[in-house]
Point group: C2
Chain length 233, copies 2
Amino acid sequence: MAEFAKSGNCFSCELKSSMFCLLTDIQLDEINSNRQQVTFKKGETIFKSGGPLTHILCITSGMVKIFLEDKNNKKNLLLKIAKPTQLIGGPGFLVDELHHITAIALEDTKTCFIKVSDFKEIMAENSKFAFEFIKYRNERVIFYFQRLMDLTHKQTHGKIADTLLYLASEVYGSDSFDTLLSRQDLADMSAMTKESVIRIIKEFVESGIIACNNHHHFEIIDKNKLMKISKTG
Amino acid sequence: MAEFAKSGNCFSCELKSSMFCLLTDIQLDEINSNRQQVTFKKGETIFKSGGPLTHILCITSGMVKIFLEDKNNKKNLLLKIAKPTQLIGGPGFLVDELHHITAIALEDTKTCFIKVSDFKEIMAENSKFAFEFIKYRNERVIFYFQRLMDLTHKQTHGKIADTLLYLASEVYGSDSFDTLLSRQDLADMSAMTKESVIRIIKEFVESGIIACNNHHHFEIIDKNKLMKISKTG
DNA sequence: CTGTTATGTTGATATATCTCAATCTTTTGT
DNA sequence: ACAAAAGATTGAGATATATCAACATAACAG
């Protein structure tokens, strides 16, 4: 099991690849001595909205979908796909110490659990670490602002364009990718029904904007057009 | 001009009423010596999305609407109404040092400008202050999560119910209130058109859920019913 | 006080999107 | 390999909401 290291193969995470490099050797020892590695199978729930937020976790391998749940309407909103070296926790930290998001493994996934109390201690000792955390949180807020605007003001074509562009640039790092997401996941990500997702993907394929083979392989052919659709909504 | 004080009439703000009480005398001196008071007239822009985030400001008197702007579609999303003793800044802090929200005075408003650099310094020195800030930010994220769910999954009746309940509980602290918000503002807050807002308010009045006189006075009559509408969407 | 501008209201119409149900395809477990 | 379950697709129909245009009322400035 890889350790958080001060230099060399520094354990990177979304908070900032350099974040753990800010720690002293003693702080790293403390984190490393208290970590637990846990493996989840495809489809397993890693943590659930409403549950206690006792650990912040770091994804070592695999992929995780993170979403908001509504008990009443059983409508979900998929917020992001988390990948290796990203930390996942949630905004309950320092508030109610509960999870406000649900995390489910999209494939077999290895994670490291870091105790929230350890996180807090180090943050109190190390202001640079705290600053990086605030920076990360603020970046997320900016991201959520964009989501709020996109999901409330754009219509279906624009929202699907957004989703495809997000997957290509942020998740798979390529305009040609295989995804583990179902049509329902794409719908949850775009705040619409799976039927609408299917129809719009079909339209995009027919007009040569994208290609889509076996339901899960996507290829963005005309990126300019897709970005234009994203812009005009 | 009231000073931030360590004890007694502690200058409260949304970050946490006790937040400034966490500072040392020296830190308070530093903040107080660098503050500037600025008054805005009704309708004036306090800061604009895209502009430089050089100061965090505290509302001394008046009311401010804070919203996300979209240049292309000229569709806004009203995020909150800020009141006296609340701090307004934005998620650009420690990220790009730009504003991502726009603030406009709903009535004559007095504000105090605190330099972002002062804020940073104190946060580096005082971990409790930093923790309060993180807590505040996380609370906002939880709020935005709720907005994302409500605005994307509820339909017009539920969204108007949410808006009215928010104004009553969070802004005016009473089920009977006069608001400075226009029908368009209510629409921007509920992610719909002003025509729809008007029609639904009319329905609510006709079915005895609320009363609404001179366009700006609202009274929630049947709160249970309104909350039920909010829940069922 | 009065004309002008901004805001609110109403109705008719268009349309985007959801819903529901049937069918087809893929994946999964034994 | 096969049956069963889960996911994807298609179409027809319903409906919520936006759009547009006309008009009414309130706010404002000279």
